[in-house]
């Protein structure tokens, strides 16, 4: 496994060391993945259905802990510290996650949805702090101007693309170290997708983003680095432009040229 070389002397923010995930004893959905992710980059995880890309992503915020039959092995270091030494609740606050289907909480207003992370964690804020976080987070996802007059409406009142941006704002409000996105635009129309992609390019100045995508052109458009996974293995991880023009591995080339996938 070759390492990427555009780190500019920076320390990796996330290190995966022989990470394996199994849903049933004896079968691995993710096989010994070892790689580094550098800060303020967008990394796209690509691969055919069932290759383990979402499974790998969900290992990073310990979502697999919810299901007793799923076993994760190996080490995952976030800013040099092993996430398995923390409580999963802490890990999930540091690694925010955005899902495929926009899922604002249906009983909460737009305002409360942004603050949901604080409410659910029992963190008390005064009115001024709340207003600040809400405004900052919504401006961060370019939703502020669209919703500032309808703050008390329910999150489900918004369109699909707006809902997804609200979900990103909800995640950003907690100021995570990295942002994990599981096919965040696959349920959206092209215009909303375009807006989210532009947004991600802005957000990478402040955050590190890992995005699982089915869409190769999306990976080509927005990511700095790409990972290609196949049958649970990390086949190739490198600079996106290089991977799309001169892939090192034959299987990567076949996938990118549409031989399979």
């Amino acid at each position: 496994m070759e390492n990427i070389n555009n780190n500019n002397g920076m320390e990796p923010i996330l290190q995966l060391k022989e990470v394996s995930v199994s849903y049933a004893p004896g079968t691995k959905a993710v096989k010994d993945v070892t790689t580094d992710i550098y800060p303020n980059t967008i990394t796209a995880i690509m691969g055919p259905s069932g290759c383990g890309k979402s499974t790998l992503l969900r290992a990073i915020n310990r979502m697999h802990d919810l299901y007793p039959n799923i076993k994760t092995t190996g080490d995952i270091l976030l800013k040099g510290e092993n996430i398995f030494n923390f409580d999963p609740m802490e890990v999930r606050r540091m690694a925010g996650m955005v899902f495929q289907q926009p899922n604002p909480f249906p009983t909460m207003s737009i305002y409360d949805n942004v603050l949901a992370g604080y409410k659910l964690n029992g963190i008390r804020l005064d009115k001024k702090e709340k207003d600040e976080i809400v405004e900052q987070s919504l401006k961060g996802v370019a939703l502020w101007n669209e919703v500032k007059d309808v703050m008390s409406k329910r999150g489900s009142f918004l369109s699909g693309g707006q809902q997804q941006r609200l979900c990103i704002a909800r995640t950003l409000a907690l100021k995570p170290e990295i942002l994990l996105m599981d096919e965040p635009t696959s349920a959206l129309d092209p215009i909303s997708t375009n807006k989210i992609e532009e947004l991600l390019l802005e957000l990478k100045n402040q955050f590190t983003i890992i995005i699982v995508t089915h869409n190769m052109s999306q990976a080509a458009r927005i990511s700095d680095n790409s990972m290609f996974m196949y049958l649970g293995e990390l086949v190739e991880h490198g600079n996106t432009t290089q991977m799309f023009t001169k892939p090192k591995n034959k299987r990567t080339e076949e996938y990118l040229t549409g031989v399979f996938g």
């Binding site: 925010g96 996650m97 909480f105 659910l120 907690l174």
Partner: protein, 289 residues
């Protein structure tokens, strides 16, 4: 037989089935309307203010009024207050219990224990109410040393539980899985996800289930006969025998002088149940996810 002929036969049989369905639906509606009509037309005579403000009259007073051709004096205030007391107590017991069991069942579907609880809940739902009355007699009347509103509420709690458990469980199961994951992905504890996301999101379905459970036990008579017994005065003491509207209907039926009050009491009971069902419909529509 040629093709156009077979199509004609199929069309005719389609029509026949359609008209049969309509006809049977209509026939099924007839008794429902007759019940409503009968109760309303016979009940309205004594459906006046005193029905709500006075307690049950003595048999003697009713006899005298009947002989003079006057309306029967008195009302069913003791039944109304008793029903409110007993049902409120039953809500107090059954709602928290039912919510917790429902949450447990929807969150642990695969566990053997959950499957056993689920099966027993179904069994409880089909339990004859008189059996529940006898159980409540043994569990509450005996230890408490006498008939009481509290004992009555124990019987109604057992009757309401399976309905609340089921509606909570089914509603929570219908919520998208991603609500739970989204909450947990924000670093929330499991408890907070359940109480601040899942339960509020399922409020419509759960509340509807509770209302329907209330409207079901509102008319229960047999279990209350064995537990609350009845009383001819307004009683707010949970440890004293207490009346309820269905108990009074049974008493009136057994007393030839009071039998006219059967209809007005039944009318009131029907109106209450109608209103509860109506609210349940509105809530279900308004809080739909």
């Amino acid at each position: 037989m040629n093709i156009s002929n077979s199509i004609r036969v199929r069309k005719r049989s389609n029509q026949l089935v359609y008209w049969m369905v309509c006809l049977f639906s209509f026939i099924a509606m007839i008794p429902l309307f007759l019940i409503l009509w009968d109760v309303a037309s016979k009940g309205y005579k004594n459906f006046n203010l005193s029905l709500f403000t006075e307690v049950t009259p003595s048999s003697m007073d009713a006899l005298l009024a009947n002989m003079n051709g006057d309306p029967i004096p008195g009302g069913i205030l003791n039944g109304i207050t008793g029903s409110i007391l007993i049902v409120l107590l039953a809500i107090l017991f059954s709602v928290p219990l039912g919510l917790f069991i429902g949450i447990y069942l929807s969150e642990n579907r695969e566990r053997k224990f959950a499957k056993a609880v689920s099966f027993l809940t179904d069994l409880l739902q089909g339990m004859p109410s008189i059996v529940i009355g006898i159980i409540a007699y043994a569990w509450a009347v005996k230890p408490l040393g006498g008939y009481s509103a509290l004992a009555g509420s124990v019987a109604l709690t057992i009757m309401m539980l399976p309905m609340i458990v089921r509606s909570t469980e089914e509603t929570l199961k219908m919520l998208p899985h991603s609500y739970k994951e989204a909450g947990l992905a924000l670093g929330s504890s499991y408890t907070n996800v359940v109480f601040r996301i899942l339960l509020p999101s399922g409020f419509g379905g759960i509340f509807t289930g509770i209302l329907l459970a209330i409207s079901r036990v509102m008319g229960e008579t047999a279990p209350l006969m064995l537990t609350a017994l009845g009383a001819s005065v307004v009683n707010w003491d949970v440890l004293e025998p207490t009346s309820a509207i269905p108990l009074l209907i049974w008493d009136f039926y057994n007393d030839p002088n009071l039998v006219d009050l059967v209809w007005s009491s039944s009318l009131l009971l029907l109106i209450v149940i109608f209103i509860l069902n109506w609210i349940a419909k509105i809530v279900a529509r308004k809080w739909k996810i």
